[in-house]
């Protein structure tokens, strides 16, 4: 009996294998956010060495988000060649196709998160290990949902790749900025704060910051869990439906 987990593992390891066989590309892309961090952190208002504490969880969220919003991009090519069609004919459970592909984008990002944390430790960054693990689990759920939406976008834009890239780019940046990933939202105008309050990512980002700081049993955690779960469920429902309907 193939279970959802076994199917997800099959999809995930298929996706990851080319990377493992040629790991240079990942190693290169892992260094990118470190550069970003090095150049951006000095610009943040530093109130008693807090900048890293605030910024590192945000950077981790950002790189996961970039990665999982690309879930559909490999798919575009596989839709054209026929290998996606071949996978759809197998008995693999539909959610496994979505989750497996999204996880393949996220797992390297977690390795990257570990790298960022290690690099920041000598500069005074401190974190709570349990909180961090819970935070990453919440982030993973959110990213599975977003990855599934990216997958859906790829299905909707087959034969017109520009559509995928346009929509992906147009949505990603507002999503990031309105979650206070790069700059704090608190001091913004009322309308901006209202938009941020409607952005599920805001709750995830707040939860990450609190969790990395060790505030585990707080309402921010609950908010993050709920927001991530809602996005994951919606993403998977929409994705499975799109697969059924796609011509």
């Amino acid at each position: 009996m193939t279970t959802l987990i076994a199917d997800t593992t099959t999809v995930f390891s298929r996706e990851l294998r080319p990377l493992l066989r040629d790991p240079f590309t990942i190693i290169f892309s892992m260094v990118q956010p470190l550069v970003f961090l090095a150049l951006f952190t000095p610009l943040l208002p530093d109130e008693g060495g807090n900048a890293l504490q605030w910024f590192v969880p945000g950077i981790i969220v950002m790189s996961c988000l970039f990665a999982c919003s690309m879930t559909g991009s490999n798919l575009l090519f596989e839709i054209q060649t026929g290998s996606h069609e071949r996978m759809l004919v197998t008995p693999l459970r539909r959610p496994a196709l979505l989750i497996g592909r999204a996880l393949k984008e996220i797992v390297p990002m977690f390795a990257q998160a570990a790298l960022i944390v290690v690099v920041c430790l000598p500069f005074g960054f401190r974190f709570d290990p349990l909180g961090a693990v819970i935070g990453l689990a919440i982030l993973a759920a959110f990213c599975v949902g977003l990855g599934a939406l990216s997958y859906t976008l790829a299905l909707a834009s087959k034969n017109q790749e520009w559509l995928f890239w346009t929509v992906q780019q147009t949505l990603l940046f507002p999503l990031l900025l309105l979650a206070g990933v790069l700059l704090p939202i608190e001091n913004g105008p009322g309308w901006l704060r209202a938009l941020a309050a409607g952005n599920p990512l805001s709750y995830v980002v707040d939860a990450e910051r609190a969790l990395f700081n060790g505030d585990i049993w707080a309402s921010t955690t609950l908010g993050g869990v709920i927001a991530a779960a809602v996005v994951a469920v919606i993403g998977l429902l929409v994705g499975v439906r799109a697969m059924r309907r796609s011509d």
């Binding site: 996978m87 759809l88 008995p91």
Partner: protein, 316 residues
């Protein structure tokens, strides 16, 4: 094994498949034949659960293709018109993960992959990136992927397009052997008329999304066209006499005779003519091809418009 009732698929204003009723029994080998855009791939895509029908029903391996998709998927194999193997993957990896997708253990999938790599002549390229393979090598890899779980029902959409004659022959052998060994039911589409003719016991001719003929190749040819004997004479008077004896059409010095089982009966015809005093100078026996059948049914040739030329696989 397959049963469809009024199976229909419309894409916006295109009637790709327009009410197909077909029954395929277990163990049959059926070829779908038709020009580009006839609706062959769309039919297969509905039968393999890839797209929902606009109307009508289909039962495949005992299960409804819309309501029991997973049950259908567990029992079939599908080799699509495109490339099943991912281009950034390696062939062997794809074979193993395909086996895993059908619930095989890693060990079984590995062993089966090795077996297929061997028998499809992929040993040298199986551990290279798929994108570096030639069109024909990629096609053979696709076929290996479709066979990995030895399905009871196999769909192949133009399996031999892009293969050279030797590999086509090899593939045909493979398919026939598979069938002999596992009693696999096989539905394939092809542009090669000779392939449909030599492999399939049953040919379904599709045009504009409808079935216009469905029978054994031999009966299709006998019924719609028949064997012909073209006789040439030295003098028109002989031709006229022969046409009278045979009750056949005459054109100048030639007589055209429609006759079932012509190759066996031609010598008798020659003897009869000699006895009657109108000896033939030349003889040409023509057996119809499936293209003649198609021409008879539609007034168009399958070969026209490049329908029967070797279409290259899409190179990306």
């Amino acid at each position: 094994m397959i049963e469809t009732r009024g199976l229909t698929k419309h894409f916006k204003d295109v009637r790709a498949v327009d009410g197909i009723d077909v029954t395929v029994r277990a163990g049959e080998l059926v070829a779908l034949l038709g020009p580009n855009g006839a609706g062959k791939s769309t039919t297969l895509r509905m039968l393999t659960t890839l797209i929902p029908p606009t109307s009508g029903t289909a039962t495949v391996a005992g299960f409804d293709v819309v309501r029991r998709q997973r049950e259908v998927r567990l029992r079939i194999g599908y080799i699509g018109q495109g490339n099943g193997a991912g281009h950034s993957q390696r062939g062997r990896d794809e074979l193993i993960s395909q086996g895993r997708a059908y619930g095989m253990s890693v060990r079984d999938a590995r062993a089966r992959a090795a077996e297929l790599i061997e028998s499809l002549g992929l040993a040298e390229v199986a551990d290279r990136r798929v994108s570096s393979l030639s069109g024909g090598q990629r096609r053979r890899l696709d076929i290996a992927m479709g066979l990995i779980h030895a399905p009871e029902l196999l769909f192949l959409d133009e399996p031999s397009t892009g293969l050279d004659p030797q590999n086509r022959a090899n593939l045909q052998e493979h398919i026939l052997a598979l069938r002999a060994r596992h009693e696999t039911t096989i539905v394939l589409t092809t542009h090669y008329l000779d392939e449909a003719d030599s492999m399939a016991e049953r040919v379904i001719v599709i045009d504009h999304g409808r079935i216009i003929a469905d029978d054994t190749p031999q009966r299709l040819k006998d019924e719609h066209v028949g064997d012909r004997i073209l006789l040439g004479f030295d003098a028109e008077t002989d031709a006229a006499g022969a046409a009278g004896v045979l009750r056949a059409e005459r054109q100048g010095k030639q007589v055209l005779l429609h006759l079932p089982d012509a190759p066996r009966r031609a010598p008798v015809v020659l003897e009869d003519l000699r006895a009657a005093g109108y000896p033939a100078a030349e003889i040409e026996v023509t057996r119809p091809t499936l293209d003649d059948v198609f021409l008879h049914l539609t007034g168009r040739s399958l070969r026209e418009g490049g329908a029967a030329t070797d279409k290259e696989l899409v190179e990306v």
